[in-house]
Symmetry: C2
Subunit: 82 residues, 2 copies
């Protein structure tokens, strides 16, 4: 799995899962995760080499297992590849 594709897939999946839960703003997710809104923004844009701890925080704020978030990101990365 290509890291950059996964990083971008992860950002897209986090954004779509956030909307699915009715969390309209990056601020809302950031608050629930205990992270800075600007940081969450850069994660959603696929710009960050997120650490395990912050991945756990984001998955927790979305109420889903991290493994599921990563599985969806892998799928998104595969689809994008073509």
């Amino acid at each position: 799995m290509d890291y950059e594709a996964l990083r971008e897939g992860l950002g897209n999946v986090i954004r779509s899962e956030r909307y699915r839960r009715g969390i309209r703003s990056q601020e809302g997710l950031a608050h629930a995760a205990g992270l800075h809104p600007a940081y969450v923004g850069s994660v959603e844009r696929g710009e960050r080499n997120v650490s395990l701890q912050n991945l756990v925080r984001i998955a927790g704020a979305l109420g889903m297992p991290l493994s599921e978030l990563i599985a969806e990101a892998e799928e998104a990365a595969e689809l994008r590849k073509g």
Copy 2:
């Protein structure tokens, strides 16, 4: 999911998956993943807040999807919690 429990579970899972593949040494896995052996050692001991990029490298060296590695780590963390 508790981050520290997951970090420890992940280290244990990486070590057991490495052995399962007949990679006897941390050096062997480090070489395959393009990481420093001492770094792989600290990851296996659950001491590191591993980044997404290094998680991708380790999963790739073990020949398994990252989502599967994380799912196994979640299971190990749950079991440990009792």
